[in-house]
Protein backbone atom coordinates (compact mmCIF):
# COMPACT_ATOMS: atom_id res chain seq x y z
CA UNK A 1 0.00 0.00 0.00
CA UNK A 2 0.92 3.66 -0.09
CA UNK A 3 0.11 6.97 1.52
CA UNK A 4 -1.74 9.29 -0.85
CA UNK A 5 -1.15 13.02 -0.52
CA UNK A 6 -3.52 15.59 -2.04
CA UNK A 7 -2.96 19.32 -2.57
CA UNK A 8 -5.66 21.97 -2.86
CA UNK A 9 -6.11 25.52 -4.11
CA UNK A 10 -3.03 27.77 -4.33
CA UNK A 11 -0.85 25.04 -2.89
CA UNK A 12 -1.80 22.69 -5.73
CA UNK A 13 -0.91 25.40 -8.25
CA UNK A 14 2.40 26.21 -6.56
CA UNK A 15 3.42 22.55 -6.41
CA UNK A 16 2.24 21.95 -9.96
CA UNK A 17 0.32 18.72 -9.32
CA UNK A 18 -2.73 17.66 -7.31
CA UNK A 19 -1.34 14.58 -5.58
CA UNK A 20 1.64 12.46 -4.66
CA UNK A 21 1.90 8.86 -3.59
CA UNK A 22 4.60 7.74 -1.26
CA UNK A 23 5.62 4.37 0.14
CA UNK A 24 5.69 4.50 3.94
CA UNK A 25 9.09 4.11 5.62
CA UNK A 26 10.32 4.09 9.19
CA UNK A 27 11.37 7.74 8.92
CA UNK A 28 8.00 9.04 7.69
CA UNK A 29 6.07 8.98 10.94
CA UNK A 30 4.10 12.23 10.89
CA UNK A 31 2.31 14.63 8.57
CA UNK A 32 5.27 16.98 8.97
CA UNK A 33 7.72 14.24 7.98
CA UNK A 34 5.82 13.75 4.71
CA UNK A 35 5.91 17.46 3.84
CA UNK A 36 9.59 17.78 4.77
CA UNK A 37 10.50 14.74 2.68
CA UNK A 38 8.64 16.00 -0.40
CA UNK A 39 8.97 19.79 -0.19
CA UNK A 40 11.42 20.84 2.54
CA UNK A 41 10.50 23.28 5.29
CA UNK A 42 6.73 23.84 5.58
CA UNK A 43 5.32 27.31 4.83
CA UNK A 44 3.60 29.26 7.59
CA UNK A 45 -0.14 28.69 7.85
CA UNK A 46 0.06 25.29 6.13
CA UNK A 47 -3.08 23.28 6.95
CA UNK A 48 -3.34 19.50 6.79
CA UNK A 49 -5.83 16.65 7.07
CA UNK A 50 -5.48 12.92 7.63
CA UNK A 51 -8.32 10.74 6.39
CA UNK A 52 -10.46 13.84 5.83
CA UNK A 53 -10.12 15.18 9.38
CA UNK A 54 -8.03 18.21 10.40
CA UNK A 55 -4.52 17.26 11.45
CA UNK A 56 -1.33 18.92 12.64
CA UNK A 57 2.27 18.48 11.51
CA UNK A 58 2.87 16.13 14.44
CA UNK A 59 -0.16 13.95 13.67
CA UNK A 60 1.04 10.37 13.00
CA UNK A 61 0.51 8.77 9.57
CA UNK A 62 0.45 5.15 8.59
CA UNK A 63 0.13 2.97 5.53
CA UNK A 64 -3.08 3.56 3.60
CA UNK A 65 -3.78 7.02 5.00
CA UNK A 66 -5.25 9.80 2.87
CA UNK A 67 -3.27 12.93 3.67
CA UNK A 68 -4.06 16.43 2.37
CA UNK A 69 -2.23 19.76 2.48
CA UNK A 70 -3.92 23.09 1.83
CA UNK A 71 -3.79 26.83 2.53
CA UNK A 72 -6.12 28.55 5.04
CA UNK A 73 -9.73 27.85 4.12
CA UNK A 74 -11.89 30.68 2.76
CA UNK A 75 -15.46 29.36 2.50
CA UNK A 76 -18.71 30.88 3.71
Amino acid sequence: MTITIQYFARLREDIGRDRDEIAPTEELRTVGDLWQHLHGDPPTRLMAAVNQAHARLDTPVRDGDEVAFFPPVTGG
Partner: protein, 145 residues
Protein backbone atom coordinates in the same frame (compact mmCIF):
# COMPACT_ATOMS: atom_id res chain seq x y z
CA UNK B 1 -29.18 17.93 10.90
CA UNK B 2 -29.05 18.60 7.19
CA UNK B 3 -25.95 19.58 5.22
CA UNK B 4 -26.08 20.18 1.49
CA UNK B 5 -23.66 21.20 -1.25
CA UNK B 6 -24.96 22.82 -4.45
CA UNK B 7 -23.06 23.13 -7.71
CA UNK B 8 -25.79 25.41 -9.09
CA UNK B 9 -27.65 28.48 -7.75
CA UNK B 10 -30.09 27.78 -4.92
CA UNK B 11 -32.79 29.85 -3.22
CA UNK B 12 -31.97 30.01 0.51
CA UNK B 13 -35.50 31.03 1.51
CA UNK B 14 -37.03 28.12 -0.39
CA UNK B 15 -34.65 25.77 1.46
CA UNK B 16 -35.63 27.26 4.82
CA UNK B 17 -39.34 27.07 4.03
CA UNK B 18 -39.05 23.52 2.75
CA UNK B 19 -37.27 22.45 5.94
CA UNK B 20 -39.86 24.18 8.11
CA UNK B 21 -42.64 22.07 6.60
CA UNK B 22 -41.05 19.11 8.43
CA UNK B 23 -40.46 20.90 11.75
CA UNK B 24 -42.72 21.32 14.81
CA UNK B 25 -42.70 25.13 14.65
CA UNK B 26 -45.16 25.31 17.58
CA UNK B 27 -42.24 24.16 19.75
CA UNK B 28 -39.51 26.12 17.93
CA UNK B 29 -40.19 29.74 18.82
CA UNK B 30 -36.96 31.08 17.33
CA UNK B 31 -35.31 30.81 13.92
CA UNK B 32 -32.01 32.53 13.18
CA UNK B 33 -30.72 32.53 9.61
CA UNK B 34 -27.59 33.79 7.91
CA UNK B 35 -27.32 33.96 4.11
CA UNK B 36 -23.97 34.93 2.58
CA UNK B 37 -23.87 36.19 -0.99
CA UNK B 38 -21.08 36.72 -3.47
CA UNK B 39 -20.25 40.42 -3.63
CA UNK B 40 -18.96 42.13 -6.76
CA UNK B 41 -16.17 43.77 -4.74
CA UNK B 42 -13.55 42.65 -2.22
CA UNK B 43 -10.83 44.80 -0.70
CA UNK B 44 -11.59 47.65 -3.10
CA UNK B 45 -11.33 45.49 -6.23
CA UNK B 46 -14.14 44.72 -8.66
CA UNK B 47 -14.91 41.01 -8.87
CA UNK B 48 -16.58 39.49 -11.89
CA UNK B 49 -16.86 35.84 -10.85
CA UNK B 50 -15.64 33.28 -8.36
CA UNK B 51 -14.73 29.62 -8.29
CA UNK B 52 -15.24 27.72 -5.04
CA UNK B 53 -12.87 24.80 -4.81
CA UNK B 54 -13.50 22.25 -2.06
CA UNK B 55 -12.29 18.88 -0.78
CA UNK B 56 -15.06 16.39 -1.66
CA UNK B 57 -15.66 14.02 1.22
CA UNK B 58 -13.89 16.09 3.84
CA UNK B 59 -16.21 19.05 3.16
CA UNK B 60 -19.33 17.07 4.05
CA UNK B 61 -17.64 15.50 7.08
CA UNK B 62 -16.49 18.87 8.38
CA UNK B 63 -19.89 20.50 7.95
CA UNK B 64 -21.57 17.56 9.70
CA UNK B 65 -19.01 17.67 12.51
CA UNK B 66 -19.48 21.43 13.00
CA UNK B 67 -23.26 21.05 13.14
CA UNK B 68 -23.05 18.00 15.44
CA UNK B 69 -20.82 19.91 17.85
CA UNK B 70 -23.25 22.85 17.88
CA UNK B 71 -26.13 20.45 18.56
CA UNK B 72 -24.15 18.99 21.47
CA UNK B 73 -23.49 22.46 22.89
CA UNK B 74 -27.08 23.73 22.40
CA UNK B 75 -29.13 20.51 22.70
CA UNK B 76 -32.47 22.05 21.72
CA UNK B 77 -31.45 23.25 18.25
CA UNK B 78 -32.26 22.01 14.73
CA UNK B 79 -29.94 23.07 11.91
CA UNK B 80 -29.79 23.42 8.13
CA UNK B 81 -26.52 24.25 6.36
CA UNK B 82 -26.03 24.69 2.62
CA UNK B 83 -22.97 25.80 0.64
CA UNK B 84 -22.20 26.44 -3.02
CA UNK B 85 -19.26 24.88 -4.82
CA UNK B 86 -17.88 25.52 -8.32
CA UNK B 87 -18.48 28.61 -10.46
CA UNK B 88 -20.45 31.43 -8.78
CA UNK B 89 -21.67 34.81 -10.05
CA UNK B 90 -22.17 38.00 -7.99
CA UNK B 91 -25.36 38.12 -5.84
CA UNK B 92 -25.68 34.31 -5.79
CA UNK B 93 -25.89 32.68 -2.38
CA UNK B 94 -22.64 31.11 -1.17
CA UNK B 95 -23.72 29.87 2.23
CA UNK B 96 -26.88 29.38 4.27
CA UNK B 97 -26.97 28.62 8.00
CA UNK B 98 -30.41 28.25 9.61
CA UNK B 99 -30.95 27.31 13.26
CA UNK B 100 -34.28 26.68 15.00
CA UNK B 101 -34.69 26.56 18.77
CA UNK B 102 -37.28 27.06 21.48
CA UNK B 103 -35.50 30.25 22.57
CA UNK B 104 -33.83 33.05 20.67
CA UNK B 105 -30.45 33.16 22.39
CA UNK B 106 -29.59 29.54 21.51
CA UNK B 107 -30.74 30.02 17.89
CA UNK B 108 -28.73 33.22 17.49
CA UNK B 109 -25.55 32.00 19.20
CA UNK B 110 -25.55 28.63 17.42
CA UNK B 111 -26.12 30.29 14.01
CA UNK B 112 -23.16 32.62 14.57
CA UNK B 113 -20.94 29.84 15.89
CA UNK B 114 -21.68 27.48 12.99
CA UNK B 115 -20.94 30.21 10.44
CA UNK B 116 -17.63 31.18 12.08
CA UNK B 117 -16.46 27.60 12.38
CA UNK B 118 -17.48 26.88 8.78
CA UNK B 119 -15.45 29.87 7.61
CA UNK B 120 -12.33 28.76 9.47
CA UNK B 121 -12.57 24.96 9.34
CA UNK B 122 -14.54 23.69 6.32
CA UNK B 123 -12.26 23.01 3.32
CA UNK B 124 -13.45 25.58 0.78
CA UNK B 125 -11.18 27.95 -1.16
CA UNK B 126 -12.32 30.99 -3.12
CA UNK B 127 -10.65 31.98 -6.36
CA UNK B 128 -11.74 35.38 -7.63
CA UNK B 129 -11.70 36.61 -11.22
CA UNK B 130 -11.36 40.40 -11.35
CA UNK B 131 -12.94 42.59 -14.00
CA UNK B 132 -9.50 43.07 -15.61
CA UNK B 133 -9.35 39.31 -16.24
CA UNK B 134 -6.73 38.45 -13.62
CA UNK B 135 -7.45 35.77 -11.06
CA UNK B 136 -6.41 35.42 -7.41
CA UNK B 137 -6.96 33.15 -4.46
CA UNK B 138 -8.60 34.73 -1.42
CA UNK B 139 -5.87 34.39 1.20
CA UNK B 140 -7.80 34.30 4.46
CA UNK B 141 -11.24 34.85 5.95
CA UNK B 142 -11.62 37.77 8.34
CA UNK B 143 -12.44 37.00 11.98
CA UNK B 144 -16.13 37.60 12.68
CA UNK B 145 -16.56 37.02 16.39
Amino acid sequence: MAVRLFDHPFDPWALVRERERQLPLERLGACSVFAGRMRDFNEAEDIRAMFLEHYPGMTERELERIVAEAEARWPSITCEVAHRVGAVEPSETLVLVAVWSAHRVAARDACAEILERLKHEAPFWKRERLTDGTERWVEQNTPGH
